[in-house]
Amino acid sequence: EPEVTQTPSHQVTQMGQEVILRCVPISNHLYFYWYRQILGQKVEFLVSFYNNEISEKSEIFDDQFSVERPDGSNFTLKIRSTKLEDSAMYFCASRTDAQDYNEQFFGPGTRLTVL
């Protein structure tokens, strides 16, 4: 069964460093998403991406964040200068289309620890 994959599973970085979190969505999916979950808190929407551009983003997704689909398979989230409060689990998801009738498929997540 096709699945969304994410690498690395755990990333440790120093405050101020740049990190890139990688995702490989399901191959025939067209819409891509990033979410984060701070430990003990709810899952929060960050950004959605379609047709090589951001379609929607939350207040959390400020100028420190960027997303890219550099090739036909990867979908990346970059945090330019990490802060302690960026420590969280980051989930990638993909969907065949943006219709609300279709579910999103989530990856296993990348745990980001900022020291």
């Binding site: 709810k42 899952v43 929060e44 929407f45 989930f91 609300d100 009738y101 579910e103 989530f106 296993p108």
Partner: protein
């Protein structure tokens, strides 16, 4: 945002018992989805119910939707220890509530 809020926040039951979790949301939706998250792990889609459906079954799962009350319930029958997880409801745009933490004791 179309946020789901789950109730109760925590539920503790014995294996074999049924578990019922409720969810309320604030705005109109086209569908409502339930997800499960095992501790520190990813999100697993359980079931989707559309706004024109009132009840849906999938294995030991039964979901109801009342659009007039903007509420949904998830029933897990004959619970197992492996059902221990957090359960989230999501409507429309994917924003999540805090979830219901279900603990099933063997």
């Amino acid at each position: 945002s179309q946020q789901g809020e789950e109730d109760p926040q925590a539920l503790s039951i014995q294996e074999g018992e049924n578990a019922t979790m409720n969810c309320s949301y604030k705005t109109s939706i086209n569908n409502l989805q339930w997800y499960r998250q095992n501790s520190g792990r990813g999100l697993v889609h359980l079931i989707l119910i559309r706004s024109n459906e009132r009840e849906k079954h999938s294995g030991r799962l039964r979901v109801t939707l009342d659009t007039s009350k903007k509420s949904s319930s998830l029933l897990i029958t004959a619970s197992r220890a492996a059902d221990t997880a957090s359960y989230f409801c999501v409507g429309g745009k994917l924003t999540f509530g805090q979830g219901t933490i279900l603990t099933v004791h063997p």
